[in-house]
């Protein structure tokens, strides 16, 4: 072996060692600053959540007595009373109703938005630009003013006091945001796999089901999560379209007893808020890997 043994001189060696040490120190300081910022910001971010959970175990009078989140005398009264509700139904019923809305809505959204995004991203056809523009335009108009006309529409369809108005439009790719998002994702995915499947004998529909959907899974998880959270939180829609209490979803049930001219029990409301957020949080924690990767993978490449 051809070696180049250069006799190393000791002074140089110690100089190099000193430099190494200094580098290590700088490295540690930099890391400390970064972690410091992150933890501080992280705490600020999470504080409200922590407070919310803590406060839901407080008594009513304590909730507004100080900014801390540890209850002096913890109570689960909020949960017990909240669960019972003032209606003939327990909160469980309202959760059930929510799922009756959320499940078809999510499924419908996932299916329709995927198909539509596929259509936009992978095909050329006359009128594509205009249709895409209409998609964006629907994002821009404040929906306060379309509420009444929409109500009249659903009245004429005979859908009032049913869950239909709450999920059917979404099942027809009514949530432009998701379509837009999925189109962006699809644009970032190379088409070769789909072409390979076409050559393998798949119809475009089979390509969508067997190839595109699996590839889109992370993005679809994000879509479902968003839709899930938004639907859980949506209050005005159910308020207007649902009249019968037995059909209330949780978002509405949460506000059921808040009459601003009357005292109401915050710990009960907070307790139920916690329960309401819980499914979304659970889903998020379980799916967070896919969720964030999903967004990352698709990125928004121009």
């Amino acid at each position: 072996m051809a070696d180049h043994v250069i006799t190393t001189n000791l002074a140089d060696d110690s100089e190099a060692a000193r430099i190494l040490q200094a580098q290590r120190r700088r490295h540690i300081i930099g890391a400390t600053i970064r972690y410091g910022i992150l933890f501080a910001v992280g705490l600020i971010m999470l504080y409200p959540l922590i407070w919310l959970v803590g406060a839901s175990f407080k008594t009513n009078s304590e909730i507004f007595a100080g900014p801390g989140f540890i209850p002096d005398s913890p109570t689960i009264a909020g949960y017990v009373q909240g669960w019972q509700t003032s209606t003939p139904y327990t909160f469980g019923r309202f959760f059930w109703n929510t799922f009756l809305i959320v499940i078809p809505k999510i499924i419908g959204t996932a299916i329709s938005c995927t198909a539509v995004a596929y259509g936009f991203a992978r095909f050329d056809f006359p009128g594509k630009k205009i249709l895409f523009a209409s998609l964006i335009a629907t994002l821009l108009l404040p929906n306060v003013v379309t509420r009444i006309p929409q109500y009249l529409l659903f009245r004429d369809l005979g859908w009032l006091d049913s869950f239909l108005p709450l999920w059917v439009p979404s099942a027809f790719a009514g949530d432009a945001f998701f379509v837009f998002m999925l189109v962006q994702f699809l644009r970032a995915i190379p088409r070769d796999m789909e072409e390979a499947a076409r050559v393998d004998g798949a119809s475009t529909w089979q390509v969508l089901v067997f190839i595109v959907v699996p590839l889109l899974t992370p993005a679809l998880i994000s879509v479902c999560l968003f839709q899930f959270m938004w639907t859980m939180n949506d209050f005005l829609g159910p308020l207007i379209y649902i009249s019968s209490v037995d059909k209330f979803p949780v978002s509405l049930a949460l506000k059921l007893s808040i009459d601003t001219t009357e005292a109401f029990e915050w710990n009960r409301i907070l307790a139920m808020s916690v329960l309401t957020i819980l499914p979304a949080l659970t889903v998020f924690f379980v799916a967070q890997k896919y969720f964030i990767e999903g967004i990352s993978a698709g990125g928004v490449k121009g």
Partner: protein, 294 residues
Amino acid sequence: MSGDHRFLGLLYLSPYIIGLLVFTALPFLASFYLSFTDYNLMSTPTFVGIANYAKLLTADRTFKKSLSITLFYVFTTVPLKLAFALFIAVILNYKLKFINFFRTAFYVPSILGGSIAIAVMWRYLFADVGIVNMALQGIGFEPVNWFGDPTNALFTITLLRLWQFGSAMVIFLAALQSIDKSLYEAASIDGAGKFATFWHITMPLITPVIFFNLIMQMVQAFQEFNGPYIITQGGPLKSTYLLPLYIYEAAFKRFDMGYASAIAWVLFAIIMVLTLIAFWSSRHWVYYAGDKRS
């Protein structure tokens, strides 16, 4: 796919097209029509031509004030939020331990954002004896009158939005991670420091997502409703009276749906124009990598 029939794509769009025709187009056009009417919700709308718009643009002082507040809000909140989201994303882009924890922590507020409990809590955080003021006093500042002072109140709403920077951050993070590391290395060999690298390399390369986030955040900010509605009720002195709140009150407090529609369409036009300007200007500042095939 390119080998297929010209109209096959429309087949996949059919859910959207049906939905558009059945559920979206009618209410959309109806509201446009209503903006030319006098409609109090009880009686049938009567056509009044451009009267609503005329009044709106000439005689309505509240509209002017609300519009200027809205513009101010949008033009402060959006850049702040984008900057903050970007800042944190840049930090998270370093190889870090607990990265999942941080990403989750920073993302959680975006999930909770819609909950009323949060709005209620916000009122509490920024109260005169709230935790924010306590913290300020703790580090030697005067407490701030957040909700009572017209110059501050809007800021609390801005902060509520900033707090929900997570979704924008995640998108930035994705973009940052897709930047070719060798560009940073090339820059460091060219003698660029951290700041120069960020300014000359990172920023230009993520302009597409800055642009995307800009549009999305702008659209959202222009439609900000919950914050002022729940937290400040538009006050004090209408300093948080954003246009969506005004539209809402015109429609459901004053039962002037025609007028509300007119405001909404003016707002629509403004967002549209700004979006178009953004799209147009993007040619000059957004760098698209652009793929070769169509």
